[in-house]
Each structure stands twice: as structure tokens, then as C-alpha cells.
Point group: C2
Chain length 333, copies 2
């Protein structure tokens, strides 16, 4: 099992495996991705995975392969488990919590090796629906305070298989990255009585220089201070603190704009490795007036250096205004 440990100075949480062998386990290098000769995510190999949490889409879409279009399974080596008791304890200066929570894998498609830009809008809609559905379910467990969806695509993004998958982690804490956004949004709201993300959307749609794509319900932009070249955010126009509460028309629209953004990134940057994550408010409703869920997509062209790690200062060689213009002008088939 695992435990969450908090750094006593900066209050950063780390999930540490506490059932390690008495000799330390060095994780295998992720220099390469497994060949896929016997991919555990391909149809026919379902027995290599833990049992499904669920499979198939609710809309009756049936795969040509083994009867499923999308599967959700527990991670085989879960970071956290709902079966674990919830205990908080201390050790002098230090604090820790048992690793209660959940860690699930979304197998996005039965087809091996296709990228999200190649998935149909219906498949992407099904994936978004599955994300929502799992969050709603996990939310019923009162010990869980936040749920995050993220994706690793390619070796540079930390992926370990090349069959398309994304991940969910449900936590008994609110991790720092979103807590900091909530705090920043709160500061802005206290002064302005407005949501800062709504203000960003207003300024970006007026200026248009960092705009990549627009739809009825969403905009896609290169943020003003992007950490990596071609970092792209998708924001809902409607103020909403939580991703899981978007409505069916918005799910449809999100699938379309997400597919357009990924197609532009793949066409313009030779199908790079990438991560994305969905930032959504933790459970509770304190931050509802001022927090605004969104999606952040980061192409991984170069590994981070000691500058980012040591100072949290990022160095970006591409102006977001140039990146936006380049992505916007591409002709997508």
C-alpha cells in the first residue's frame, strides 16, 4: 500500500509506496515503451487486466473488435485504493495520511496505437462521458476530496504503453496545483467580484492574438505565460467550477473543439508526446463563485531541466502569440 506524505515546509504531497521490499525498488527506465506484441489493452487480452469497472458507451456504439468501445479498469498497481482505511498520523514535524482513494485507467479505444486526433467525435464524446461518470461515482465516497483526470501520451510524457489511455486519481486531499489556482482566483474575486478565468476569456476573445479555436461553448488559447512551447488551454465560456457538471450539448461541443486542437497540434508539431489534465474544483462549494474548470494540454518536446525543477521558473522559446497564429493557420484535412 501507499501513503501520502507532506513536505513540512512547502506542503507538497508525495504518494510513497510503503509496502516496498526491504531493499529499495528502482523503477524501470521509461526510455522505451513496451512493444505491444501482447498489449494488455488490446481486444482479446482483457484477461491480462483487472476486471472492468465498466465497458462500452451508453449510446450503444459497438466496436467492430470485441464488443467494447471504451473500458475503465483499476490500475494494476494502484497508487491509492478505496479499500484502505483513512488514518492521519504524525511523526515529529511530519504528517502523513494512508493512501485511501482510487486510481483508474481509461482504455480509450480498442484500436492499438491511434492518437486522440484520429478518434471520431463520437469516441471522444464517449471518453468525456466516461470521465464524468467515474467522477460522479467516486464523489459518493465521503473520504475523497478531489478527483483528477490526466493523460500521458508518449515516452517524454511518462506513458508506459502506446495503446491510448488516460488516468484518474481520486484523493483524500486537494493537491497543490489546483489549490493554488483556487487561491489565486479567490484573491482576484475578493478585489474584483469577478472570476479571473472569465476575465481571461473576455480579454483573449477580444484580442484574438492567442486564440487557437472557438466553438459555441468553448475557446482554445495559448496562455499568456505558457510553460512549454504550444501549451494550449481549453476553457468553457460558461462559468462553471466543475468539469463533471457540464451538460450533454457541452460534452458534444468539447469533443469537437478538443479534436480540432489535437489535430492542429499533431499536424503542426509532427504528433508530439503530450500530457493533458483537467483542473476542476475539489468537492465542496466554497469556490463556486470564482473557480472555473478548464483543460491544459502540454506538448512535451524537451525534458524539463533543473531551472523548472529548482526554481519553478519556466523557459519557453516560442511566443504564445506566434504559436497561436501558427496553429490557427494550419489547414486541417
Amino acid at each position: 500500500m501507499s501513503e501520502l506524505r507532506k513536505d513540512p515546509v512547502v506542503e507538497r504531497w508525495v504518494l510513497v509506496a510503503d509496502d516496498a521490499l526491504r531493499s529499495p525498488v528502482i523503477p524501470r527506465s521509461r526510455d522505451r515503451i513496451d512493444g505491444g506484441l501482447l498489449c494488455p489493452f488490446c481486444p482479446g487480452n482483457e484477461h491480462l487486466c483487472p476486471p472492468d469497472i465498466f465497458a462500452n458507451a451508453p449510446n450503444g456504439f459497438v466496436s467492430v473488435h470485441a464488443g467494447w468501445q471504451l473500458r475503465v479498469i483499476p490500475n494494476r498497481s494502484p497508487l491509492l485504493m478505496v479499500e484502505e482505511g483513512h488514518r492521519r498520523s504524525g511523526e515529529g514535524l511530519y504528517d502523513k495520511i494512508t493512501g485511501v482513494g482510487a486510481n483508474e485507467v481509461f482504455i480509450e479505444t480498442p484500436e492499438h496505437g491511434i492518437r486522440q486526433s484520429q478518434m471520431s467525435p463520437a469516441q471522444l464524446e464517449c471518453l468525456i462521458w466516461a470521465y464524468q461518470s467515474r467522477i460522479h461515482d467516486l464523489r459518493k465516497d465521503g473520504r475523497i476530496r478531489s478527483v483528477y483526470i490526466y493523460k500521458n501520451c508518449g515516452v517524454q510524457a511518462g506513458a508506459t504503453l502506446d495503446h491510448g489511455y488516460s488516468l484518474l486519481v481520486a484523493l483524500p486531499i486537494a493537491p497543490r496545483a489546483v489549490a493554488e489556482e483556487v487561491e489565486g482566483a479567490r484573491r482576484h474575486f475578493l478585489i474584483k467580484e469577478r472570476c479571473i478565468y472569465c476575465d481571461v476569456i473576455h480579454q483573449e476573445t477580444a484580442a484574438e492574438t492567442r486564440l487557437v479555436a472557438e466553438s459555441t461553448c468553448f475557446i482554445a488559447i495559448e496562455p499568456f505565460a505558457p510553460r512549454v512551447p504550444f501549451e494550449t488551454w481549453i476553457l468553457p465560456r460558461r462559468h462553471a467550477p466543475r468539469f463533471e457538471h457540464i451538460e450533454p450539448a457541452e460534452v458534444h461541443d468539447l469533443a469537437l473543439i478538443f479534436r480540432e486542437v489535437m489535430s492542429r497540434i499533431d499536424a503542426g508539431l509532427c504528433s508530439p508526446d503530450y500530457n493533458y489534465w483537467i483542473h476542476s474544483a475539489a468537492f465542496g462549494n466554497e469556490c463556486d463563485p470564482y473557480y472555473h474548470w478548464h483543460m491544459e494540454i502540454l506538448p512535451r518536446i524537451a525534458p524539463p531541466t533543473g531551472l523548472e525543477g529548482g526554481t519553478d521558473l519556466y523557459y519557453n522559446t516560442t511566443l504564445p502569440e506566434d504559436a497561436a497564429e501558427y496553429l490557427r493557420r494550419l489547414v486541417i484535412p
Copy 2:
């Protein structure tokens, strides 16, 4: 030239190149390191580099190669330059500062491809002295608020050459990573009237379970909540907010314990890629009673995933207690 842009929500700074060509520049992949057939850092190729800021050690140590033991040069594509004017400006919600500062490279040794664990204590002492000396010099420029030293060793750590080098960045701001530590240390001091790092040193030397090495002036530990397997910190026993003010006896002692730690990491983990950085207080003296400089060394065995990037929650498969015991027990030649 470049500019510093601040994310309006989380106040994270990004250094963006603002003289980019009108078509976006995609940085080259760092999948591999340049071959070194014509290494710009090797003796005889000094003409391939910008002119030295200084060369050689003050102790008269003379290299067998081209007369230098260590060189400091400006980065060929500097992230920041002292020649730049210092202007702050706004754009609606957004804030930026011109890229005033400095970015320097320490060529640690004339010998190509040797690791820091293979350098002599005298060479490492010379490197530490050079770090200190450059910080003292840059400190004279009133526009500079903080200076950071960091190292990228190997592709996974973001290195671009395999001739040993480390880097310095001098900034007109205090970046988030250290500002957060200062803030955490301040909270502790307000309650306890003690430095939290002094408390950590006290607890770790008493417990011994996470101790890797000890010397007269320093301790090396695996921190309680390590971000990556075998993350190791070196802390001075004496409370001191700033690295650049350590005394000659401490420089000597630091070279010895650093060499021991790097030898243990190299022997135990098959010479992994790694980053390190020195966290030292920004200029000014507000945090002198409660901030404590230190060095953080992070082996880079696997690339970060969307979990770390998206939530700032780290997943570590090796307990620091196991890592410390493993490193401690190794027999070093």
C-alpha cells in the same frame, strides 16, 4: 531578447523569448546529446564559446590541458542579459518584466565526459568557490533580486552536452520555488520561533533512518516526502540563509560530503542522470532568522507524468528510509 511573464492566477513566472522569428521556433528535441567530436567546452575549442567571465582556480591549480581548470562563460543564447533595460509593464490582466539578469555556464573541468563523483575534492572546492564568487559579483547589480545555481546531467535531466557543466541564472524576481519555502519557513517561525530546517536537521540526526552521510558542517538526508526515488538533500548544520556566505572550512567540507553523496548515488544507481539546485535566500535580509540554504539533488530515472505536472502530487516507488539505508551501506572505493 526575452521577457518574464507572470501567470495571472498562480503567479508563476515564465521566461519567453520575445525576439522569435515571426514563424514559431520549435526547439530541437533533446533525445540525444551532441556527440562531442567538436565539444565547445573542451580545451582547444575555447574560440567556439563567448569570452570567459573568468577561468582558473584561485588556488593556483593548473590543468594539464590548456592552462585552465574551470571556466565561467555567458550562455551563448542567454535567457537574460544585464545589458537589458529594466521595464515593468501590463497588458490588461497580464504583467511582464524585461529579461534583465544573467545566465552563465560553469565548465567544471577540462576533461570531457567525467562525472562529478569522479572529480577531485580540490576541483569540487574550486567549483563551489566559483559559484560563490559569481553570486557575490552579480549581487552588486541592484536590479537583480535572486541568483540560482543548478545542474543538468544527462538527457533525462535536460542536458544538451555531455561535457560537465552547471548553470547560473540571475533574476529580477524571486521565483516561486524558493518563495514558497521562505513562506513555509516564515509560518513555522511565527509559531515556534525556530528555523524549520534546523528542526528537520535535529529530527533527522536523532532518528538516523533517512541519514545518508554526515560531516562536521553538513548532513545529507533523503527527505521525508521525496519527489523522486533517491532524492537527496545536503543541509548545513549551521543556520545560514545564504549559500554564498559559507566560510572556507565549510567549502572544503561541502566538497567532501557532496563527492561522497554523488559517489554513493553513482555506485548505487548505475550513474543516473540527475539535476541539482542550490536554494538560497533572495537578496535582502528579511528571512535571515528563518530561512536555511540547502542543496537538493534529484536523480532522473523516469520522466515526469501528467500526475506531477497537473496536480503537483508526486508518486515515488521507493521509501526514503529504504533509499537512505541502501545508499549508506554501499561500500565506496
